[in-house]
Subunit: 448 residues, 2 copies
Amino acid sequence: MAGFGVVGGAVYRHLCREAALLAGRCGVRPVITAVAVKHPGWMPRRKVHLPRSLVVSCAMELAARREVDVVVELMGGCDTARELILASLRAGKPVVTANKALLAEHGPEIFGEANRFGTPIYFEASVAGGIPIIQSLREGLVANRFRLIYGIVNGTCNYILSRMAQDGAAFNNVLREAQELGYAEADPALDIDGIDAAHKATVLASLACGGCVDFRHVHVEGIRHVSAVDVRFAHLLGYEIKLLAIIRAAGASQVEVRVHPTLIPMSNRLATTAGVTNAIVVRGHVVGDIEFSGPGAGGDATASAVLSDIAHAACHLRMIRATENPGSFHAQRGTDGGRLRPTHHRPLIGSLGPQIVSMGDVISRYYLRLSVTDRPGVLAQISSILGKTRIGISSVLQPEGHEGGAVPLILMIHDARNDAMFKAMRRIHQLKCVKAKPVMFRVETFET
Amino acid sequence: MAGFGVVGGAVYRHLCREAALLAGRCGVRPVITAVAVKHPGWMPRRKVHLPRSLVVSCAMELAARREVDVVVELMGGCDTARELILASLRAGKPVVTANKALLAEHGPEIFGEANRFGTPIYFEASVAGGIPIIQSLREGLVANRFRLIYGIVNGTCNYILSRMAQDGAAFNNVLREAQELGYAEADPALDIDGIDAAHKATVLASLACGGCVDFRHVHVEGIRHVSAVDVRFAHLLGYEIKLLAIIRAAGASQVEVRVHPTLIPMSNRLATTAGVTNAIVVRGHVVGDIEFSGPGAGGDATASAVLSDIAHAACHLRMIRATENPGSFHAQRGTDGGRLRPTHHRPLIGSLGPQIVSMGDVISRYYLRLSVTDRPGVLAQISSILGKTRIGISSVLQPEGHEGGAVPLILMIHDARNDAMFKAMRRIHQLKCVKAKPVMFRVETFET
């Protein structure tokens, strides 16, 4: 195991405690033989006791050691983690990782090497913590084409947005509170700017498409610009604002992959998914909509997924060894009563798969909040611009209340291309009657 | 394949249409070689065209035929289906089945033979249709002990109860409507008396415990006695009435397994699970609560699960053959890039596992509706009986309104043993001021 932080510590603790349970259930008893720790000197301060005899200071040693059968990478980052994973795959040691950043940004390289050397890589913990979404996409729903996958995949953002929705609190105050509670990092950028969610969206999209999608083309917006006033207006209109990852098939060889704050109807189950919970809806062409929800982060929930992957890796090795020594495998079959079950494994091709649709070409609905002067003719000017860009208004809300001489005007916009909307917004911003930069969020109903 | 009804037809259609998809994803192309049909004469009327050359009239032939590698049992019932499955397992042909009744009522025999002959049996479609709950319990959550599993596992009952909740309609009217829409059978007893849900609860409990639980000891109540007035009062108190399957670990070697209408708080996500949707919450000791929801019945959703099992069975055979001819397996590994993935398989022991707690010993909260005379002293008499049985009242609701001289009195009861509650109800019923048989439903909050 490389890395001994919150997740690593939890994996170690549960693996030691539940070794008999795992052995009974999958017929293989995993034993931790070495743990690579970044700063071995910090050891005494850790909550989980790690025997000094297991500690190694160089992670790369794991790929080289003879007694290591499976490498569990929980260190994060794209430097040493990448090297360790590549070396392990080349050495024929199955890899278990929770590293969504690495898989999203170096997918073709990682999966390419895994395929080239025939070494499996498991990454259930990389998306939505303890929810078995990866296995469900690959196996339980194997007969389905995935037209749509959408979900709340970042617990920090969902915690902040649901606190804003409950209490009408301002973004900055809730962020500070989340940091105090340990739900947000001291440097929260990776979470609140949507990057973590985009990494997960990339992994999900690659699985759905059967080939890596290019992370660099994923449209990403975070939640810094979501204000209490927009949350309140959204409520008035019957919507909740959530940071969603959205993956939608677009024709045979293209896919939309995007992360942005989204207005969804209150009746959608994701609207009531509060706190650090994750929730993902998968729309399969055979099965329809399946929703998964549960703890998307935290040491224990993530450890549950890592342990499941370790069990898979252990069984894989057992099968490989059985094929090298068929007699022993048949002997096992007799006594174990079919414990060892091979399954289908949808391979991730180690090259770029379908192209991501450019955001300008994506069609969606919109919530548009303008700050305008309280004079007659304003709505006419704005709707004239929208009309010329062939963008239809579905409803208008002009609530009471002033913002320093200006009044808010909320427009709900029909299906329109994003580039048309961007163009219209630029023109609207130039109007004299418009007093601030227009605020725009996309609206999705996910109707079938 | 045995059986060509709604599910069989859907499996056949999707398997023919998506053969290339399945072959690409799991490296094995399943081909249907024979379909056992009960009344081959009816063929022309079927929606799905089935070539006559595939039709066999005797299901048992499937277990005997050389060209049949996997037997898919979708005929239902416990007679021919049982014989076919046993014969197939003994012949070493992996079995795929959606037959929860058979697994619940003959689990020890079926799993016993599967283990004895080392032949796998797959049954993802037996619980919650297209939701991959079985695989998630066995594999994705393999590191967890399951303290609690609860859920809506019968779409017919949930459709009826949610229509009653939405419209205040009476049970019989909604049942008739459900029958007209095809959501309920002409003979609806299996569904509305809770038997189907109890079959599914038995399968889930057996998986959670790792050994078969005895279906005959499962406490089963259906929804015939749920009235519009109770749904309305439940709403007033902040609850929804749902037919739930509840499986709760009780000590080391006992388990509660019960199916009954249950009041759950509106804030529980299952309270807003409407229509024929199924939803299951799994509480694991490592992961916490994971919820799955989706279509629990219907040809397509069930076919999605059956097809996933067929893919598993196909990969199992491929691995077996590889071990018999190791050279070919290694050759495959090189070209297929690790497509074949063995996994852990929590075996179901073919003998009775943990004992089911007697319903009298189960502790729960209660909703109690009495029809009483509108005179002083009534509440005193009732609360005196409850007090003597050491049953605590948590709240009282006496709404306006008369029922032919009697008034409704609703008591919410603290945690108490079921046998104490039954005893108190008998005594209360004997009171002169009580005008009808008391109506009791259990209340669960599922707090952690």
